[in-house]
């Protein structure tokens, strides 16, 4: 369990984190979202024990970060922002160093090292110094050190930053696998990641929590939730189609994209319009390339509440 109560951090006149309280239970993957400078990294640094809070409390697995920092840190795997490591060390020596600090010994040490090296596909670069590695490999080395001791709690600051799509997919699969019995907090500004791995999302802006919900519920707040998008075969039908759709009583607004002959009908609050819009399309004899129901756009919700 991660628990924060009224956690705050002030730097002189700047309030980086302002009265943040939340709890995360095992099995949850919490996505920490927010614009750059919103306080995501500062909050994570406080949880990891790298920054001392100005006010408030936080605990990891029941260990208060201020009074039992070593126990809190021992239950935690942490990937700092930018995945800093010791560049002059080889991957092997670096992971062994972390395993030593994490008190891994004997067979378990060997097994855990083998596991992370295999899981994050590091065997090819084991004897290279970290400074010679690509950004993607460095990130994976950072992830490997965070999970080598199999901690019950993981805090990962932008775990997929700098990875290519395949590697991103790999890391997300890994997070999903570990999610069953761990508490995971990730920060990201890639919104698709929230859908891919998170069971819950907290949006933070100017140091405050502005939304805390499941990704689905957040998407439901979008204007696009249950909206219907039509793409026409021919652009010349576009104006007629727009007028007809806009005339439907349940439709609040229609957005048109002339370039790809696409229009999106936004429903009035709570209304479902898929059936009426599709019937209308048949009645009007519109030639459709595509018709689909929008599930809500997280990026739009994000912009609305953090602006």
């Amino acid at each position: 369990m991660i628990k924060t109560e009224h956690l705050s951090k002030r730097y002189d006149s700047l309030v980086a984190v302002d009265d943040v309280s939340f709890q995360v239970a095992p099995g949850e993957v919490l996505g920490f979202l927010g614009p750059n400078g919103a306080g995501k990294t500062t909050t994570m640094r406080m949880l990891a024990g790298f920054v001392t809070p100005t006010a408030g409390k936080a605990s990891i697995c029941g260990h208060d970060i201020a009074t039992e920092p070593l126990l809190a840190k021992a239950s935690l795997g942490y990937l700092p922002e930018g995945a800093p490591t010791y560049g002059e060390m080889t991957v092997r020596r670096f992971l062994e160093f972390i395993a030593d600090l994490r008190r891994l010994e004997g067979d378990r040490r060997r097994a855990r090292l083998d596991y992370v090296i295999g899981r994050l596909q590091l065997s090819r670069v084991l004897d290279q110094t970290i400074e010679t590695l690509s950004k993607g490999f460095r990130r994976r080395v950072g992830l490997a050190q965070a999970i080598v001791h199999d901690p019950p709690v993981l805090i990962l600051d932008e775990p997929t930053d700098g990875l290519d799509p395949n590697q991103k997919h790999e890391v997300r699969t890994l997070i999903n696998e570990m999610a069953r019995d761990k508490i995971i907090v990730i920060s990201t500004h890639i919104l698709e990641e929230v859908d891919a791995v998170c069971s819950r999302a907290i949006i933070i802006a100017r140091g405050r929590i502005v939304a805390d919900d499941t990704p689905l519920a957040l998407e439901a707040k979008s204007r696009y939730y249950n909206a219907v998008t039509l793409q026409l075969e021919q652009a010349d039908q576009l104006e007629a189609a727009r007028a007809a759709v806009a005339a439907l009583p349940a439709v609040a607004e229609v957005e048109v994209s002339v370039r790809d002959a696409r229009l999106t009908a936004l429903p009035r609050a709570g209304a479902t319009i898929l059936t009426t819009v599709s019937e209308l399309a048949v009645r009007q004899g519109l030639k459709l390339k595509e018709l689909h129901l929008e599930s809500g756009r997280l990026d739009e919700v994000f912009r609305t509440i953090t602006a």
Binding site: F50, A74, P84, T85, R93, T129
Partner: protein, 244 residues
């Protein structure tokens, strides 16, 4: 305490992973010998001792030791690896001591590699090996004192060049604390007991007495307390950063 050892080994290995270690040892040996033979007139004096060899150590260390210590914390902060280190289950003290001991052990290694000098004087004559041993111990303590000061200066900044300059200046002040150059700055305004206290902090006075072959408990205590003080200051500087 196990963590001190783990951190120390990692740190020590990192010296040798870069050319730093080799450049440092080479320059140290070259300068130590050049000073002894040319400035100290080793052969001309016709005496089998290492007096002039050790005479130059405080001055040699003044520039070479801050070159080791400047990276201790400044580099960790610059690269961000300090965040990785301090979020492992280690205490700040374990990290401060581990890194300090690594630097000290490295300085000790450089010092040990001057052994041909010792062989040379023993070949040429019959030196007092007890005095030489005492002087080696004194030199090692001196390096430890410089390193503690340098560690503190390195914790104050994330710029290694600034850490180096601060280190040289701070070591210089402590080195010459018993001399008019430093004392005059205090005499005009500070009370006499304070001036005396400053004077007693001088590296040079304490090193000189050990160098003569007398290992006094007071000198040992001096180096121990000076080291402890600056390492404490190091950890306070790092802790303040964390709270800030």
């Amino acid at each position: 305490m196990r963590n001190v050892g783990i951190i120390m080994r990692r740190e020590l290995a990192s010296y040798f992973a870069t050319p730093l270690a080799y450049v440092f040892i080479l320059i140290f040996l070259l300068l130590a010998n050049a000073f002894t033979f040319y400035l100290g007139g080793f052969f001309e004096r016709g005496q089998a001792d290492l007096q002039w060899f050790f005479y130059w150590h405080p001055w040699l260390y003044l520039f070479l030791i801050p070159a080791i210590s400047m990276r201790l914390w400044a580099e960790e902060r610059k690269s961000g690896s300090i965040e990785l280190l301090m979020t492992q289950p280690v205490t700040l003290w374990e990290a401060v001591l581990g890194k300090y001991f690594a630097a000290w052990l490295f300085a000790a290694l450089a010092l040990v590699l001057t052994f041909p000098m010792w062989i040379t004087v023993n070949y040429l004559g019959k030196p007092d090996n007890g005095t030489i041993l005492a002087a080696y111990i004194g030199s090692l303590l001196l390096a430890g004192g410089y390193l503690a000061i340098g560690s503190c200066m390195s914790a104050l900044t994330n710029n290694q060049v600034i850490a180096f300059i601060l280190g040289v200046v701070a070591c210089f002040v402590v080195l010459l604390a018993g001399f008019p150059l430093v004392l005059d700055a205090f005499r005009s305004w500070a009370p006499q007991w304070f001036v005396d206290a400053i004077a007693s902090l001088s590296f040079l006075t304490h090193f000189d007495s050990i160098k003569k072959g007398v290992i006094d408990v007071r000198d040992l205590l001096y180096f121990g307390m000076l080291g402890a003080f600056f390492l404490l200051a190091t950890s306070i500087a790092l802790d303040l950063r964390k709270a800030h």
